[in-house]
Symmetry: C2
Amino acid sequence: MDKKYRLSVAEDAAGLGLVGGFKVAGVACDIRGNGDMSRLDMALIVSDKLSSAAGVFTTNDVKAAPVLVDISHLEQSEKIKAVVANSGNANASTGARGIEDALKECALVAEKLSVKPEQVLVCSTGRIGEFLPMEKISDGIGKACGGLSSSPEQSEAAARAIMTSDTRPKTVLAEVCVKEKCFKIAGMAKGAGMIEPNMATMLAFIASDAKISQPLLKQILRFCVNKTFNRITVDGDMSTNDTVISLCNGESEVEIDADADAQEAFKEALLAVCRSLARKIVGDGEKITKVVEVKVEGARDEEQAEKICRAIGNSLLVKSSWYGCDPNWGRLADAAGYARTGLNPDKLDIFYDNVPVLKGGCPLSEYKEQWRDIVKRKNFTVTLNLNLGNASESILAADLTEGYVNFNKGE
Amino acid sequence: MDKKYRLSVAEDAAGLGLVGGFKVAGVACDIRGNGDMSRLDMALIVSDKLSSAAGVFTTNDVKAAPVLVDISHLEQSEKIKAVVANSGNANASTGARGIEDALKECALVAEKLSVKPEQVLVCSTGRIGEFLPMEKISDGIGKACGGLSSSPEQSEAAARAIMTSDTRPKTVLAEVCVKEKCFKIAGMAKGAGMIEPNMATMLAFIASDAKISQPLLKQILRFCVNKTFNRITVDGDMSTNDTVISLCNGESEVEIDADADAQEAFKEALLAVCRSLARKIVGDGEKITKVVEVKVEGARDEEQAEKICRAIGNSLLVKSSWYGCDPNWGRLADAAGYARTGLNPDKLDIFYDNVPVLKGGCPLSEYKEQWRDIVKRKNFTVTLNLNLGNASESILAADLTEGYVNFNKGE
């Protein structure tokens, strides 16, 4: 069956500015306060027209000030003009003054762009428990508004400006054509690594020139985030600042709501963008050496499959053995068991890639050498078949290294 | 108010054999198969009379063969004569043959002691996915039955025989007198460390000469295990073999069921024994440098308090910062938040020992030097007051070290 659309994905192409009607900037304003003006630390994304906007935020009970402000702004306004983001300071655990500062950032950007403050969103990532240096933030906003551009250089500068312990910027650009009409979706993200040395925050910004209503965008974004960013784990910790924001300004005139083909195309393209950024985040996890796909098949339902995926992907013993290239399947079975989903150990099959490890609960030691070869690789797949039903789920998980502990032990 | 009983606890006193009517043995039978007959690897505990018995077992869906056999034996028989335990092989993920082997161990002991097989319990800890060397096990059982004694030396040998990666045996002896009549409770345990290099198994054996019915023993043991062994965390992983067994043979003639004072005394003494063994287990966790008590107060209910304790005690970021002596309270707030219990960040207070860190969600940086001094210690307390209600809970948690990762990476 022919697909009704063409989708192409350019990995690592920095392109928020390449999307019709968007301009971006990445500038330095010394938010870390060490006088290093060569380190970019503020990104600004602006749409010429007001955009449909949706956000997915951390479900942590302790939400940072910018998260609370964004949730409120998206309730007040379906259309958003701009997003300002800084690294170096998370504006988290900062009480009422933190909220005031986040609101002020929105107001400063709104004033420069002649829109309402609630039409601006704000993100922060970095050290927590410290107040934002508002004078520097204000200078940075001025500089960023002056430097807005649709050039690839500014797109890359923006992607660099949100980095904390990331070792490289994370970007992707998708182009989609439906019935001869084309639109773009570009994304940039920063990783779930520890931050100097505080929180593990993930931020992602996705810009598109498709024309889509806010409710539909919200629904599709939530679906895509759930299948991608919520299916990766480095250390199992969830930050106070995690945020994914999507802006769609309609510049391409490709209507998504009314056309089933266009809707399918948009969903697949957004999923591809989110998946690409999520893979880049886990692959750049702090001091990791491996990314392992954990698949659970034959589950009674998706909830069971997901619980087992997470128990395995977050097990310190499992992650340590991946680091050591040890085909320690016993730890996989143990972690699957303590997810306590009612699996039947006598029906459990386990595979490294396609090589069987356990069949109906009994080990197949004759393949030991093959297991060893597989777990030495930088990427491999662990599959558990529960043989209880038809549901499946998977996640991407990093290993646990001595470097991680050393990097995160702090002072 | 005077207590109606006297309780004294002798830490590190190896004393299962010192409890009236019990004899024990610890022998070597080369279960690891490396010819090292100097390493004790089988313990046997025998009561002269049949004992009331209760067990608390792993809730992992994947239960090792001896756990399944013990659950069945305790259903068939309220009275137990003996427990046989080996280290070096967990008899887990061994299918039907594993069950057959565990049953055979019980039958061998039963034959020697002239009781029914279902009056014997069996425990294993060690490598998984390998069948027990039954000839060696049989030799070991013969040797252990021949060596039974009530001497402190055999009590210590038994405590050593169940060790895997433990660096020291873990024992405790409590003596209780109620209205001039006295009884003893002695315990021995092995730790939740990784096993050569497979599972993290915890085993504990508690012997008493108090006279108590099986249903009451079961109820009190469950309560005590929940407040102690279930409140420690090294790495958050739960094994396929975790087992706590208590035998009470009534030799002292102190009746527990009918006397409220005696019941209170028994409960407090059993709790003290369990607490002591649990502390020893976490304190001997693999390559740890610290044991931190995590307390949550002012919670709506105990469930909320416990969830937050566990999120903090199992957070890799929190545990890494403890290792690094970094007073990184932000990670405490973050982990408390992602337990998603509906805490209110604006009401949150945090303390290192008694020094305030956060008050109503705002940091009190003036005490920073005091925080630093506290988190350098080998033991300290982290307290979170949610200011939402009156419930509280606490757990003991170890730090996460580079040594742990190195030790557990395997091959």
